[in-house]
């Protein structure tokens, strides 16, 4: 499905698999030169997106989650594929941070951390294919 430049992990969509998915994100973000603070943020954002698939996509039913990671000189891209009912970015409802309640923070984290978020047409026309990109700082904006 994805080319050789992608590092892939395919797991059952279960909470106990999040640890392994975070490990892949951390490893790839470090390899590609992100600073430790940004590495931590990328781990959090991808974790939250995978959590959304487990909790709100499959809603506790069995399913598969695929995480792909690809980096180039400009930054890093994560793609998360599932076979859950179709969602769109309009379905992502971050909560008002002044409204103190336990849920709804994940979407806020993802939007705050990532530079680009989009849903791609899934290759087999089913499920969802989320793309999230983070740019590496360019020489001009490094202070």
């Amino acid at each position: 499905m994805l080319g050789e430049e992608w590092t892939m992990m395919r797991v059952p969509a279960q909470a106990e698999r999040l640890h392994a998915l975070r490990g892949l994100v951390r490893e790839q973000a470090i390899i590609h030169g992100f600073t430790p603070d940004v590495v931590d943020e990328l781990v959090l954002a991808v974790n939250e997106a995978c959590m959304n698939v487990i909790q709100h996509g499959y809603r506790g039913t069995a399913g598969v989650l695929e995480l792909g990671v690809r980096a180039d000189v400009g930054g890093i891209e994560f793609r998360i594929r599932d076979q859950a009912p179709v969602v769109s970015l309009e379905d992502w409802r971050p909560r008002d941070l002044d409204d103190l309640r336990p849920g709804g923070l994940g979407v806020h984290f993802i939007r705050q951390i990532m530079d680009e978020i989009s849903y791609l047409p899934p290759p087999e026309g089913q499920g969802n294919w989320l793309s999230m990109k983070k740019y590496l700082p360019t020489q001009e904006n490094v202070t």
Binding site: A15, E16, L18, H19, R22, D37, D40, E41, V43, L44, N47, E48, M51, I54, Q55, L97, L100, R101, P102, G103, L105, G106, H108, F109, Q112, I113
Partner: protein
Amino acid sequence: MSGRVKLEGNYAIVCLEGEIDLHSSPVSRKLILGCLQEGKPTLVDLSSVAYIDSSGVASLVEGFQLARQRQLDFGLVGVSPAALNVLKLARLDKVFPIYASVQERMAKSADD
């Protein structure tokens, strides 16, 4: 993640260690809410937390809210840099009372 509760004076100290995520946050939630349901003022020690996600933060928010309802003291102590960064992203670092250590909170109680 591992978690345990110790008692210091009338306070329950919930010590959480490791990674608090969707898989382990039900344990942290149970420990925190359990102490408050027993009527104990509660401090959550996050000094050994290497990672926390929104589900872990949600268990802290639930604790904070239950403590407020029951008029019990609630706070976080020794928050690790990793946990503090996530609380800052959620803008909760100004909402939760945060202390450097249990001793610091106890000293404040003595001043009250």
